[in-house]
Symmetry: C2
Subunit: 319 residues, 2 copies
């Protein structure tokens, strides 16, 4: 394949740097989910760790490479902020996180609890990105840009190495698509080491910028987003990330909000997992296109579990 | 220490026989739980696998040693039955499971879905044990007796090896106590390799037979049980298992039903995990004796996640 910005040898080396608590996460068939989906489904579970998302893989790599520095700043929809706070705390690194004041309260609370300085902006994630960049310039400290910075992609890519090493072969992997770190990371490894696996990105219809960009092969922005999947609700795709995604993704699909909440409920009832909306995108994609997946073995990456409790129960309609 | 029936070398060897999907399960600090508990809490997660409980470790060992046999029978409260069905299916072994008709429907459904023959008895787990023994005698096949059969203990004991290898030291481990396979298994390994760790067994007040037996150092039976924690609701402790437990447990405590449901709710809200009542016994024990654990680092084994959805939501009071 044409070359992305990612490198398999660096990704392999990343495993030696990332705290083991984020690596070698569970990968298992969940047959209880399957009657509702019509295909074999395996879960790659990225929520059973101290920050309840896959972002620790990338933040560990970032923090390791910052050894000797005093401070770092990032914009975050909530999960990168927690992960960077966790990785920085263990290394004596001052972490500033800029987030939207509309981010889930539980994500913001956890960022503070992990000892990071949290600054809220009165706008969405794109405004938080601008503010984080301004802080970095003013303070002369490293700005971590999710999906643009190669460490965030190559950290996430270590999931790909674990998928490739799976005991059971699989036909397709469903990956939540936001900024693109997870999709380009996992996609790169699969295309390099298991090119027969179909790499399918999934985004909400209400936040379609990256998916539209992938289909049109050029950056397409949107004026707003309208989805409960806060973790993937960007409006401005990053050109370099899109270029990588064009090389490693076989498809990018959009799903409805109702499918996302149905997916969340299915993961609750049949897998016993509380997941954030982004983590249910894969199940949502199967629900919306059963014929495509019928009889195949599909892996879905359950990428995060940080949700506000009240909103979660409202969404899944638990009684 | 005095010798139990378990053997560290056999336990180490068991790791090579057990399907990797059951091994090296997540072990991680869950700081979001801690404000409500007053101590550092780590979760050893045994639910992210194809049968959603730790029982696959033992069933794999049983099934491996039955290579060449055609059939096997066990009594089960539900989790061993699923695990043995899973392990038998992959090896062409006919599995019969005898269970109480009052066992959670979801456990019974999963046993059937995994291809085992399920026979229900009109009584509790102790009656199922009698019936399974009768089937084994009649059919001339192997009877698997949970906690009595050394494979079930040594399979569970592989959790202990993983705890001992943990990156972060810990002060105590909380273990659900039912028949005793999990407690004697994990306890044996800790007493052998990390004797400074306090091994604390936890049982519901409504099913106290093994705990009372441990305190009185002789088998104490009860006429009935009254607890939602179906996985640990035995009435007839097995003498050989009690003898082992006396050698490896530092304490055995009883907890109230309300503490169990509170623990389940805490694991749902702060760890994102749907657990069965037995898996919340550790959190319940901390809640009931905060002073004992204050400032310490406690590991709780989240041993199973198979619950009836409706009962679960009723117990945790989710809205």
């Amino acid at each position: 394949m044409q070359e992305t910005r990612l490198d398999i040898d660096r990704i392999r080396a990343a495993r030696r740097v990332i705290a083991p608590v984020f690596l070698d996460t569970p990968l298992y068939r969940c047959e209880a989910l399957e009657p509702g989906l019509g295909c074999a489904v395996s879960i790659k579970l990225e929520t059973a760790n101290p920050v309840r998302s896959f972002k620790g893989r990338g933040s560990e790599l970032v923090a390791h490479l910052l050894t000797g520095e005093r401070a770092v700043v990032c914009a975050s929809a909530g999960n990168l902020g927690q992960a960077l706070a966790w990785s920085g705390r263990g290394r004596g690194l001052d972490v500033t996180v800029v987030a939207s004041r509309f981010a889930p309260a539980t994500k913001l609370d956890r960022i503070r609890a992990l000892g990071a300085r949290l600054e809220l902006v009165d706008g969405d994630h794109e405004l938080a990105r601008e503010r984080a960049a301004a802080i970095a310039r003013h303070d002369g400290i490293r700005l971590v840009e999710d999906s643009l910075d190669i460490e965030t992609c190559e950290g996430a890519a270590t999931i790909g190495l674990e998928l490739v090493a799976a005991a059971q072969p699989f036909d397709a992997v469903l990956i939540a698509l936001g900024g693109g770190a997870l999709a380009t990371g996992v996609g790169h490894v699969l295309k390099a080491l298991a090119p027969e696996v179909e790499v399918i990105c999934v985004q909400p219809l209400g936040a379609p910028a990256m998916t539209r960009s992938w289909h049109e092969r050029r950056v397409v922005t949107t004026d707003s987003t309208d989805t409960i999947a806060d973790g993937v609700a960007g409006r401005y795709p990053i050109p370099a990330v899109l270029a990588d995604l064009l090389l490693v993704a076989d498809d990018a699909v959009l799903v409805q909000e109702e499918s996302i909440t149905t997916g969340m409920r299915m993961l609750l009832d049949h897998a016993g997992l509380v997941v954030e909306p982004s983590a249910a995108l894969g199940i949502a994609a199967i629900r919306e296109d059963r014929d495509r997946f019928a009889g195949r073995h599909v892996v879905t990456i359950v990428c995060g579990g940080n949700v506000d409790v009240a909103a979660y129960h409202r969404w899944v309609g638990a009684t």
